[in-house]
Symmetry: none
Subunit: 248 residues, 2 copies
DNA sequence: TTTAATTTGTTCAAAAATAATCAAAATAAA
DNA sequence: TTTATTTTGATTATTTTTGAACAAATTAAA
């Protein structure tokens, strides 16, 4: 009984029953609980399931499209902590930008009850907030199916027409050398968000801190505040540079 | 019975009944009241519900997520016939506008395989077409949850930047006296679509022909072609006025 | 108003689940 | 074969979750 086989059995059970229990699985497969826990943790890290105390659940009971969900399901606990802290920064009447990152997406669940305006280019965000107290403004332009969001010059111009209190953004990486993005389109829209917002918050889990990928598109001072679960030494440097660091 | 599961059950109950009671939930799930209280407090902290003495209530009492679905499900056979005929009008390479009506929505299923550009203010249309060959352009602006679409001056300006071959529109009513809409916002965006499209198709089932509701916003000549299942005498008048009538 | 009943938060303890550490077993590589 | 690597399990310490008891706060009743 190897990992692959157990993984298969666990996923099957999740699909049929919707949830699994560490003890039951361990007894059923005649294997130790700690091993099952390790399996579940690894699979949760891959976004294949949602880890609970004593077991695991299906990632999404209600279906939201596809690869976005999987990405969004990675590192869930850290992201939720970050987003809970981010939600505390949002007050009644605020006008906020939300970008299309998977971390920022998880902010939705914490702001449904707030009377605010959200301006976003992310369709999942729209979907998640459409029946909430939040008033929505959708950024127009060409839709990118992979990112489930709108990007491009029309989108950037749309943003430029508004002025928000706060922007909640994600990046692909951040280091002492600046901010990094996966593509030019993402870089440009992030800059547009930042420059039309009074305050800019960066939501990033530990995997992004110190990471330098693809395209360097901006200096650290583009953002005012980083909300993160990371304990990296890099954070001290950010602070020295005048960036607020909110630790969760 | 872990936190995640209880949370789900509580949310389900809130959605169906509208409120929950600590004692009842505790008895039902066979768990202590203090635990339920802790659950409710945490969920209230996340903005998922309003905490009351002895229980909790839904955050937003008004919910309209299924209205669109219900509306879309009416008169399905007629609408599908109309849309199948509409799809025949669409060729490879076309750039088309699609508005947010329930009839136009049903056009999606017939154009998924076409290599065209769709410019739309309807979020359901975006959802339906997001994993198809269709390239999407989303019209930006303020989102209206009831109509599941974007309307307003920003949206109208967005439309004005583009020029489409064909527009597929719905109205609330059409008679020899002109076109009728439910609201100013819908009227304005319909006019914007029509004036930035080379050819304008009106998709309407028999219930709309001869109907004169709320706001008269345009002349018959705003549209070039009506696709309908109606056998009304009115159609002869439309033809006489130079409007093509495609009968299904 | 005052009084009673209910609901709630706090503190503490028990139980359950988990992570960490290290050793044993299984597997792969040399 | 031997050696290294990975996987697994047992033990222990830590963390999380839960419930009971009781005081404080809130609501309802007199």
């Amino acid at each position: 009984m190897n990992f692959q086989k157990r993984k298969q059995i666990i996923l099957d059970k999740l699909n049929t029953v919707g949830e699994v229990d560490v003890k039951l699985i361990a007894a059923e497969l005649d294997i130790s609980e700690i091993t099952i826990r390790r399996d579940l943790n690894q699979m949760a890290g891959d976004g294949l399931l949602y880890r609970t105390h004593g077991g695991a659940m299906k990632v999404n009971p209600f279906e939201v499209p596809h690869e976005f969900v999987n990405k969004a399901a990675k590192n869930v606990e850290a992201k939720d902590k970050i987003c809970r802290a981010a939600a505390e920064q949002i007050n009644h009447g605020d006008i906020i930008f939300m970008d299309c990152g998977s971390t920022v997406f998880r902010l939705c669940q914490f702001i449904k009850g707030k009377k605010i305006k959200v301006i976003t280019n992310s369709i999942p965000v729209v979907y998640e907030l459409q029946n909430s107290l939040v008033s929505l403004n959708i950024i127009g332009g060409e839709f990118n199916a992979e990112r489930q969001a709108v990007h491009g010059s029309i989108a950037n111009e749309h943003i430029a027409r508004y002025k928000a209190n706060k922007a909640f953004l994600g990046v692909d990486g951040i280091s002492r050398n600046g901010l990094f993005a996966n593509s030019e389109l993402e870089a440009e829209i992030t800059q547009a968000f930042a420059s039309h917002s009074a305050k800019t918050y960066l939501l990033c889990d530990d995997s992004k801190i110190g990471k330098e990928s693809y395209l360097r598109f901006g200096e650290l001072n583009l953002i005012n505040s980083i909300i993160t679960n990371s304990k990296s030494d890099e954070l001290a440097f950010f602070r020295k540079k005048g960036v607020e660091v909110i630790d969760v």
